[in-house]
Every structure is written in structure tokens, then in C-alpha cells.
Subunit: 561 residues, 2 copies
Amino acid sequence: MDRNQLTEEESSRRVNIMGLLLNCAVFLLVVIVCSGWQDDGNYDGRLSDSDPISLWPLPQKIQISAVAFKLSASSFQISHAKESSAGPGCNLLQNAFRRYFEYMFGSVKNEAKPRKKVFSSELTELQVWITSADPECDGYPSLKSDESYELSVDQPSAVLKASNVWGALRGLETFSQLVYEDDYGVNIINKTSIVDFPRFAHRGILLDTSRHYLPLRVILANLEAMAMNKYNVFHWHIVDDPSFPYFSRTFPELSQKGAFHPYTHVYTPADVKMVIEFARMRGIRVIPEFDTPGHTQSWGKGQKDLLTPCYSGSSPSGTFGPVNPILNTTYEFMGRFFKEVSTMFPDAYVHLGGDEVDFSCWKSNPDIQKFMEEHGFGHDYSKLESYYIQRLLDIVSSTNKGYMIWQEVFDNGVKLKLDTLIHVWMGNKAQYETETARVTAAGFHALLSTPWYLNYISYGQDWHDIYTADPQSFNGTEEQKKLVIGGEACLWGEYVDATNLTPRLWPRASAVAERLWSDKDVKDIGNAYGRLAQHRCRMVQRGIPAEPLFVGYCRHEYKGL
Amino acid sequence: MDRNQLTEEESSRRVNIMGLLLNCAVFLLVVIVCSGWQDDGNYDGRLSDSDPISLWPLPQKIQISAVAFKLSASSFQISHAKESSAGPGCNLLQNAFRRYFEYMFGSVKNEAKPRKKVFSSELTELQVWITSADPECDGYPSLKSDESYELSVDQPSAVLKASNVWGALRGLETFSQLVYEDDYGVNIINKTSIVDFPRFAHRGILLDTSRHYLPLRVILANLEAMAMNKYNVFHWHIVDDPSFPYFSRTFPELSQKGAFHPYTHVYTPADVKMVIEFARMRGIRVIPEFDTPGHTQSWGKGQKDLLTPCYSGSSPSGTFGPVNPILNTTYEFMGRFFKEVSTMFPDAYVHLGGDEVDFSCWKSNPDIQKFMEEHGFGHDYSKLESYYIQRLLDIVSSTNKGYMIWQEVFDNGVKLKLDTLIHVWMGNKAQYETETARVTAAGFHALLSTPWYLNYISYGQDWHDIYTADPQSFNGTEEQKKLVIGGEACLWGEYVDATNLTPRLWPRASAVAERLWSDKDVKDIGNAYGRLAQHRCRMVQRGIPAEPLFVGYCRHEYKGL
């Protein structure tokens, strides 16, 4: 058999890959370049996770041609197009160029002087062309950021066109995913044309650093993995009942007393800044959550009188409940605290929590009872909760932040600004669909998380259900559907820490990533399996210990422990 | 408050720890040495995984006294007792001394000259005293090895007494677990007396290197973790349907064609030797499993005519079934193959599998049908299976190995030697208890795995069920109970590879370890929780990414990714 011909197995495998691309492609003709060495029976396709070309999440429109180019570390470069509004002074892009060069070629150094002789079948350049006057090199991504891009891979240069750096980052990821190794280890890319944009503007991951402290390197590694999956929001559930690792300059006692350890288990301002900058470099927003009035046991250790004293009969029991909503000192504290938060975190939104408030302690406390009476709340403690939240929202609004809140705040009828993001997390499928319909019918923006609580695990390929859930699958008008701005995968921290977080999250969170980025019709599990298996091998090769989907192997297995 | 006094919280916490030790202790009096710095509220006991002293698995008899000694890296040494039959020439012990020194003191070097001045409250020496004439320094552990030891921690020297190196290894692990850091970071050990021995002789872990290839470093790291949990058998399920990573000198085509990759995804003879020696150094036997006649798809790629051709109607379908039991070439192959295996693996046992044989391919094949007729098997294909197994057992017996087999071989009535180990793995609790009763009633030795398939996962603290299962909980005589020689935790490889294997296995496998080592009455979940949480933090500190049991933290969090 001619080694330059495809084996039957390879042909069928590639037709299969291309079949899925066809779903979205206007034009498609593929005969992938020469291959050999696979006809010895060791790569039988069935078990291999290392087929070439796997795009994840799948772009909106793709054309891949038969023509293929080689890439060489010694001659290939990523550069700024002449017409681009960004240049070498754009640190964010320079940083991304280096990162993607390393993903494609390993850590080999680009030679100072590219070699003169270039083969006709070689691609030597990717030009990045930022079209809008302000490339936003030094800005922060936002809910309104334009992440669309167009990518044309052809000679003499591949061109990546985007209105600003955020789209360019997404396009660089796609470009790097188009590059594959042939059987000689040569990097290959096909002539390709892509037009791409996200289906939803808010595509997030929640990590919980209160139930277990996550060392910085774990957070940073997951930001890397998020960029590989075109996620754009890191929802940092930074404090909760078990610990308060956020070091507050204004109230240092909060972490001094409330963290698992005041030095080794806290996030200093420098740490927080590093996370935000690392995320910004990857087009990822950092939205901190400071959940009140419940989930605040750890706050009480460093802030006297903040929590409600619970009573046993007529005397204090020594335990404490939610934030005490009847004291002026509470609101003074919140004012100063959220003032600091608003300057520490540049994003336009802060998540205020508001979930799972247990009323039993409030009920036990005679001062609270008196307050309820005075304010005509009767025995409806959700009115007291609303009273607290209302005042908190006014405080946060005064810092010029928008807010996200868990669905209970909406359910309890708290008066909310129309730009509030309602985070849906409760119930089964029917329940979260009903909730999303209600939220959007009321004119609010909705975010879905219910089907994406990735802390829940089960035996087998549980990514199927994760993949098939859709934030817009509810009864509602087109207007309502448009109010759904995306969703978040949540990894609550009861059972995860630095030892197991990353493989538990990836590639399961990749399934959510495709749902939130790609066209709604991209939903075939079989097609997804092949690409996702390869995508996870790519993450592994890039140093992310993403766990396997099923039996098989990666050409480059995980090198850490 | 005097910083040298215990806080109330600390006292109660320690009483709690000691309460559980009391279960097994003849004499107990504990007032742990000075502590400070904890009365600031950051260590509230509830959430801390880092309390001092946690023995896992719990020794058989313990006395811990109030008297405590300091240990210093610069003066402490582990040495051979004058009366010991082992000395510095015993490489296994020297290696263990270094390993446990590093666990206790980190990688700081022991000063060449211990300092002269020693404080009266200091312990400067652990003497290891091997009492039998042959310490077995260069031997391999076996099913009959004596792993008992006695440990006395007192001045002027702690003494660890064991009949041979295998007991000494277990005692060194226990000694290292007795050492804890006080709040100043000083290493402390209490005056202690321990008499210890395992409840069961066979305490194993099965890893599967066929469904995913496991790099050597993953196998070695898990051998380290096994030693920390007093496991003594590594059941290496080395090949199976998906891949054949064992490099056979006699039949190199098996891995050349049957491995995921012929170079990067195989275990060479040097690799296998390294695993065996690394295991031996830790008192761990390596029992390879070469499962036939089913589970052999990968064998067929490199060995022509080994598998049964399946038929579709009157012609071969192109697919293959189990090993072909009707050809003499099959038995010639097996003879040569197991001859090699018997020299490569020093253990007295080899696991021959024999599970899940699918008869449909045999049924479809006209040559097999004819053979069945000739041998008067009728349509009972389990008779054909027995015919194969019988011949295979004769072959393996001729290499002077004993064998382990999965329960089906016993269930199908194959004639077995009385020293055969029957591995129970099927059914629910009632079913595996019945099976164990049947196996032992027939006079065979039994090993339990059914409740310990750790590849199955679920949300939450699934170690509870793992912990409470007991290999002797079946209806049978005392004689029958004695025939149960232990059990194995199995981690089948469908969903695990280098990225996630270690945290998925640990500390869940630790629960099995205590069941198999400690007294049968050690079974209180609450007691176990506290010790296990600390034990997992110890594993983490030693570099094993064992996952958390629940909310909390370790003083020394995982340093890898």
C-alpha cells in the first residue's frame, strides 16, 4: 500500500470527523495530507483519542479545504497585521502569541532569524488584525465584549481578524486547535476559513474556595483550561460558612480569624490581583461572590455583632445565624466592605448570593421579633430577608456595580434593577425551565446553572446529560430567550481541593463550554465524543490533568502526577 | 490563658482521639505536650484535618503514655539494634530508614555528626531489631510472611522488634505515624507501646493498565501509598481487551501490535523489574494477572490463530472471540508464555483471570461445534471453558506457581488444587456472602473484592460502605472463616488514567486497608473519620494527592497540581 494514501480506516475516521464539520460548513472538501505508519494496526481508530483536527467548542461557520500546509517552529510566526490597530506594544496579545506558539510547538525557541528557504507547502505567518480603533489591550473584558472573529488560513499568510483583543484571543485558540501533528511529528494545518462568535455572552465557571482552600496555582491552571474552552467568566465563590480566605484591607480580622489559617490559607490583595490579571490576559472576567445574609458563619469570627445571636428559650444559645439585619452597624460594615470589593475587583458585576437563608435563628431572637413587629412583617421572615437584601443592593449600587444574585432573591419578590442577573440553580429540569421562564417574563436577565453542578458525580459518562441541557429550552417568547445571557458550571467545594479539582472539572466543564458557545444545533453526542476525547488529550498535552472520557489513550499522556 | 495549657477545644478534641484508641488499649493516659497559638480561634476542631496522632490502619494493641519526647532531625537516627540479625548491609532496611526519616523530617539531611548535647526530653534513636536468623533482606514477601512487630517508644531508645524485615517495614510506618508536629513545628512522639499484626494475610489493590496505560511513576506513587496503608499485594491487571502493554521477550509482537503504542505505552522487562523491586522494598508482592480465555482481544493482534474466529452463518465474520481452546498451538503458546511470566514475576502466585467468558463466538464456529461433539460436551460451553482452564492450570502448575482465579472458574466446577485462591467479585452483599460460604465450604481459600470496586463512584462520602464491608461476614464455621485470606480493592481502568487515578483511589482504598489489617471490632465510622481525615493529610504531605473526605483543610496542602 502506498504510504501516501489513506488507509481505509483512516479515511472512514476522517470522513466521520468531517461529517460533523459539515453540519456547519458551507463548503467542504478534505483529503488530509500524507500519512504512514498507521497501517501497522496499532492505531485502529476505535480506541485512539489522538486523531487529527478537533475543534472544541465547534465554531459557528467552517470551511476546511484539501490543501494542507506545514508549520515549522523555526520559521512560523504570529504577528500584527499592518492594518491592525494593535502592535507589539499590546502586551495582552504579545503574551497570547507566546502562549499559543508554545502550545503548538512546545517550548522550543523561535530562532532569532527565520530561515530563508521556505517550502511552498509551508505556512509561515499568522497575522492578527484588530479592526476597531481601540483594541482594548489594557482593558478588561465585559458582558458586552465582542468576542467574534474571522480566521482565514491560506498562503502567504493566515489572517485572524477581530474587532478587538477579546475576539483575537478566541481566534488564536481556534487556530491552535486547527494545527495537528502528522505521523512524523510535523505540524500541519489545512487551508481553512472560519467565522465564529459565541451563542451566549456569559460563559462561566464557579470555583468555591471556602469549603477547601485552593492554592493559587490551581486557580491559575483552571483559568488556562477555561481559555482553552472559550469560557469568559470566573465566578469566584471566595468565602462561605467554612472559611473566609479573602484578605480584606479594611477588615483584616475577617481572614485573620475566619480563614482556615491566617497566612497559608488566604488570598492577599497581591494574589487577587494576580488572578484578575491572569484572567484578563485570557479574556476572562473575575466576578467575586460575597454571599449574604446566609452562608456567613466564617464572617462572624472576625466581625463582632455581624451575625444574629440565636436564642434557646429566653437566653442566647452561643451560636449565630445569618447576618443581623436589624442593626445599623451591619449596613455600615457592608458599605465599607463592598466599597473595598468594588475597587479590588474591576468587573462591572459582583455576585451577592442571597441563597438558602435559614430563618430559624432569626425566629428565635427576641430583638428580631420586635423588629419584625415594628416593620409590619408579621411572621413572614422572607420580608425581613428582602428588607436586608434591598438595603444591601442600594449599598452595592452606590459603588456603581451591577449585581448577580441566586434565584431565591427574585423568588422572594425583592425589588431589583432590571439589569440584575438572576442565577437559576434549583430544582429539576421542569422546575428550572419554569423558573427561567418566570425570570425572563419579568424582564430580567437569566443565567443557568442547575444542570451544571459538576460537584455531583456518578459512575460512567455523565457528560452526556451535561452536554444536552440547554439554557433556552423553556416555554417563552423570542424576547424572553434573548434575556438568557448564558450559564455557569459550578464546582462546589465539599469534596474537592488541590488534589482532585482539575480532573473532576475537566473535560466535564468542556461539555458546558460547547453548549454555551456553539450553535444550538450542535448537539450530537456521537460527534461530540470524538472531538471531546481529542480535545481532552490536547488539554493533557498542554499540562491540564483532564480525566479520560472512556477507554483509550493520548499520544502525549499526562506528565505530572 | 496560659499558652502551655490546652484550650477546651483542644482537650475535647484530643479526648475524642484518645477515646477511639481506648477501644484497643490496655492502658492509656494522655496529656499531650505544650501547645500555643491555637487559642486564637482559627483552629476550631470541627473543620481541621490536622490534629496530632492518627494511626491508620489502627494497630491491634496500643498503650500511649502522657510522657512525650521531642525529635530533632540533627540528632535522631534509625539504627540496627546490636542483637539484630540485620545490619547496614540490609539494603531493604537502609532504604526504609531513609524513606521514613524523610517522611518525618522532610528532606533535611541528617548531620554527619549528631550534636553532643541532647535534651532529657528528647528521643534520639529508634533501634530496629530483627529477631529471626534470616532477616529476609534480599527475599520477596509472600503470603506466609510474618508482618507482626512490637514497638516500644521510650528512652533511651525506641525499639522496633520484628522477626524479619516485613514486620519491621510495618512497624516503621507505625512509628512515623506516631510522630506529630506541635504548634511550633517541633516533632513530638509520646511514650508508646504497640503490639501489632494483620488480621488478613492478603491485602491487595488491583490496578488495570489495559483500559488506560499507567505511566510507571503512577504505579510507583501508588505503591508508596500502599505502603503507607500497610497493603501488601499489588494485583497488576496488566493486559485485557483494549491493550496489551506487557512487553514479552518470547512474543514481542504481542505488545508491538497489541499495545496502544509499541514504544510509549508498554512495560519493558526493565520497567517490570523496577515495579517489582520498588514493591519488594515496601513489603509488597506483585501478582500479575493474565486473564484468559476471555478479555483477550488485544492478544489476538500479535498472535495469529490464538483467538477463535467468529462465524456469521457459514463463513468467518472477521471478528474474533475468546482464546481458541481446540488448537494445540494455543497450549504451546500458553506454555511458553507462562514460562516467561513465571520467571519474570517472582511471586508464588499468578492470577489467571477466567471471568466473563462470552460463549456466542464459540457457538458460531463450526470447528468448535465439532470439537464439542467429539468431546461429549453437548451444548454446555462452560464444559469447554473448563476444558481450557484445566489445561491452562496444568501448564501453570508445571511452572511451580500457585494461582488465583476469578470466581466463575470455581462456579463452573473446574477441578482446582486446594491451594487455589478464589477471587470473589460478583453480586450484591447477600450474593457475595453466599459465594464466600460456598468457596470456603469446598475447602478453598477466598479473597473478597465485590464491595471494593473503587472504580464505582458516587457523590458524597462513599467510603462508609467500603469501610463497613467485612470479608468474614457470612454464615460459616470458624474453619471456613479462616480460609478467607483477605481481599483486594479494585480500580478498573475505564475512567481513570494518570490524570485522576491517585485521588480517586485514595483515601477510599485506605478504608479497605483498615478493614483488612485491624481488629474486626474497629468499625466505628465517627472514630474512623477523624483518623482517616488526618491520615489523608499525612499522605498529602508525603506527596500523594489523596482527595479530601469532606470540608476542611490540611496544614500542609498538596504541592503538586
